[in-house]
């Protein structure tokens, strides 16, 4: 008998859409005063008020930072965390966000232990900035174990393949 596999769920809000794999957590929300681990100089005291998309292979705590502060600490070796943080549209014209669109597929060489926003033993991260459809984004991905990146990165990339961004 073939196993029954739970279906992925499509999550849509604020012009963003992504398929959340079965058993994973996700959210697309505006961080209205949530604790943010983004530098104050970048986004202000309360963090970005633009949409923030999170997808994770582990239970996400209700209160967490835009870049997974308070969440990534709970990652297991096989876990992954994806954050897509939107910035003000004006940022799209700056050199940092000059890349046209999300660059994928992600490669295992894109990940580095030093890219973690908050250093965690064994973990690694990847970050890229881009603009598309008049919107500016930062993509941040954290892996629970850098040594397992060969199997974790394709899982992240399959989620990113379902990401859709509409004009605001």
């Amino acid at each position: 008998m073939s196993p029954v596999v739970a279906a992925a769920r499509t999550m849509s809000a604020h012009g963003l859409s992504v398929k959340v794999p079965a058993g994973w957590d996700g959210s697309i929300r505006r961080a209205a005063g949530d604790p943010s681990d983004t530098d104050i100089d970048d986004v202000g005291r309360l963090g970005t008020t633009n949409p923030v998309l999170h997808v994770a292979s582990f239970p996400l705590p209700a209160v967490r930072g835009d870049y997974g502060g308070g969440a990534v600490q709970a990652m297991g070796p096989n876990d992954v965390f994806i954050a897509l943080v939107e910035f003000d549209p004006d940022a799209g014209s700056t050199p940092l966000f000059s890349a046209p669109g999300l660059r994928r597929p992600l490669r295992v060489t894109d990940f580095d232990r030093s890219t973690m926003h908050r250093p965690l033993p064994g973990a690694s991260g990847h970050q890229q900035f881009f603009h598309t459809r008049g919107r500016a984004f930062a993509l941040y991905v954290a892996l629970g174990a850098h040594r397992l990146r060969a199997s974790s990165v394709p899982r992240v990339d399959r989620v990113l393949a379902t990401l859709s961004i509409s004009p605001r």
């Binding site: 596999v5 279906a7 999550m11 398929k19 079965a22 058993g23 996700g26 582990f58």
Partner: protein, 283 residues
Amino acid sequence: MTVAAALLGVVVALLAVLVVSLLRSHAEILRALHDLGVDLDPANPAEVARATRAARAAVTDPSGGAPAGTGGAAPAGSSFVTGDGVPEPGDLLGTAAFDLSGLDPAGDAVAVGVTGGAHRTLLAFLSTGCSTCHQFWGAFAEGIELPAPDIRLVVVTQGADAETPARVAELAPPGIDVVMSSDAWEDYGVPVAPYFALVDGGQVVGEGAAASWPQVVDLLGRSLADVGRSLAAPGRAAPSRRAFLTGRDRADRVDAELAAAGIRPGDPRLYEPVLDPDAEERP
């Protein structure tokens, strides 16, 4: 002969490598399909569950009478009748669980994975209207102690079609996930609010209605004990039936029940002679 044996060994080794590679490739494909939510079974589990409940309801009450949970409606062939407001027991036990998807009280999109991972999820189906639910809203806001650290509490209300998001936001306990989803209520066949379902390993392992948090913990503990599981995290894997009935688990359970009754080791009541009530009637 030696050369032939060596050649045979090399061939076997190559075949072994080939088999391992194929298995690994197969596992990668299965994982990719799983992550993408590709259903390997022709029937979607949510549709199967809904169809099963619909069929059960049709058999139970072909006249379209009282739904499950309103009391008094006993399934055909059943020997029990539930009281008013008491849902029929065990309707969900052992059935497949469903991931949650809906909106949070702020109107943002949220998805909660229930079917994956090593954790257990306690789903609290609450409404903003029922008075009993308000006890739970209040208790959750004040902070409750979960029975085990691996249990994640998620409050599920109906969607904006049946609830007022502002009212849900007002009651939403800080630090606890709240999902507004009428689909979830339908998927789990929630008969009444408040209602609780404990999910473990992709299956509903405990369910029921209760009026207070201690009752919920007791209800789920009993429900799990019936199938040889424990609500506590350590060693929660189901023991063998033999161990459950005759082994150390049984002794521990008996000790716990005696302790709960105030009977501890050395208690004289443990050494009272066993009286045979039929002895005097015998010739």
